[in-house]
Symmetry: C2
Subunit: 240 residues, 2 copies
């Protein structure tokens, strides 16, 4: 399988600029062969402003950005794309818009069959997985399904947040929310990516990158912590 993915937890890390914390990994990922990146700004309301933000950042790294919202035919834009980047925002709005524009199947095909490099951050990481069931976002619109692009066979929880023992807030912790998901039948495992880390997938090999650890939730098993550099390839093959 030609699949190449860079799935980033968060677009901005506290105290640094947009995509600054992962810019070395972005350059390593797209490399020198890719010249143009197809950007998908569907997760935010102001797509023009969002495309400008992405364009400015990628230009500084040596890549030109085409935004899918400026294309007359979004499916054709995906067919021609050298590489794809789906940015963060609201995951429900993003997924609905991907279906409304009929690009879900085409993106899957391009990435899995043609080897087009795919980068996602935050909501763009959520939609790359099997489903959006483990997004943190508010369900502001109703997508036709929670099934997503399916570039990997498990779920990711981006922006993973450890429980704050001093909090007085009584809403569920992130750990409780993911545990509730795993109470449902036939749910796959959930890779919880703390802000600062990301998953690199190359074919059947998956590696944790970045500055923070990830936590893996599996049904009816204790959670496991993984350090930067960990080989997580087993997530791609086994059904855990």
């Amino acid at each position: 399988m030609k699949r190449r993915l860079l799935l980033v937890s968060n677009s901005t890390l506290h105290g640094s600029g947009y995509l600054e914390h992962c810019q070395q990994q972005i350059k390593d990922f797209f490399g020198n062969d890719v010249k143009r990146v197809l950007f998908v700004p569907y997760a935010l309301h102001d797509r023009d402003a969002y495309a400008k933000t992405a364009r400015d950042k990628f230009k500084s790294l040596g890549y030109e950005v085409d935004s899918i919202h400026e294309a007359s035919d979004p499916v054709e834009a995906v067919r021609k794309a050298e590489s794809i980047f789906i940015g963060g925002g609201n995951t429900f709005r993003l997924l609905k818009c991907l279906y409304d524009n009929q690009v879900v199947t085409e993106i899957r095909k391009r990435v899995l069959e043609d080897g087009v490099p795919y980068m996602g951050s935050s909501a763009g990481t959520n939609v790359s997985t099997i489903s959006i069931n483990t997004t943190n976002d508010m369900p502001i619109v109703y997508p036709p399904t929670f099934s997503a692009i399916g570039l990997v066979p498990f779920n990711i929880n981006p922006h993973y947040l450890d429980t704050d023992p001093n909090s007085r807030h009584m809403g569920e912790t992130r750990e409780q929310r993911i545990t509730q998901y795993l109470e449902e039948p036939d749910t796959p495992c959930v890779l919880a990516l703390r802000e600062g880390c990301m998953l690199l997938v190359e074919g059947d090999k998956a590696t944790l990158l970045g500055s923070t650890k990830a936590r893996l939730f599996i049904r009816e098993k204790p959670t496991v912590e993984y350090e930067t550099g960990s080989d997580l390839s087993f997530l791609l093959t086994d059904r855990l």
Copy 2:
């Protein structure tokens, strides 16, 4: 309209027991005429344990609890109910299960036409409104729609949390999430209930109760803070 609702932000307030912070309002709401409460535990996985928690608490307040999950015919249980209480947990699981058991329409009819008192807390408050679009929960299952029981014509965000200026977490704040909802077309206003407050609705009169303030979000207008005791009846009549 006979409608009587007690819509509580949170089931447990930091430092106190289950429903302890609102027990006086519960007694005032159900009064002496109601003897039995139909409890809906669908938002949590372990319904038996959840029903026991609710049963113990309501017994201490002088009410008997029948749990809908113990009824052979849930619709019939709603038809016979003297009063209804839907507890918190995961809003998606709750709404899906209400539809699966075909009780959404029956609850609406009983409350709006027959004047059966309805209490909700957290997820039980979300499903009482026009839709679950402003829940904080993780979308662990896919309900057939986000439209909910519709006992009031607006949205509520329970467990409302003010932005923490010292946070280093880069996920969207609650304010940003609600603002994203209001960017979508034709969205109604959102009453954000901080933990500790609740909305009492009696016919066409709505009053804020409890120990904390509420914040009202309206499309393209500044938000407004409301103190305990505020008359919020305008939410029931005007489309804001």
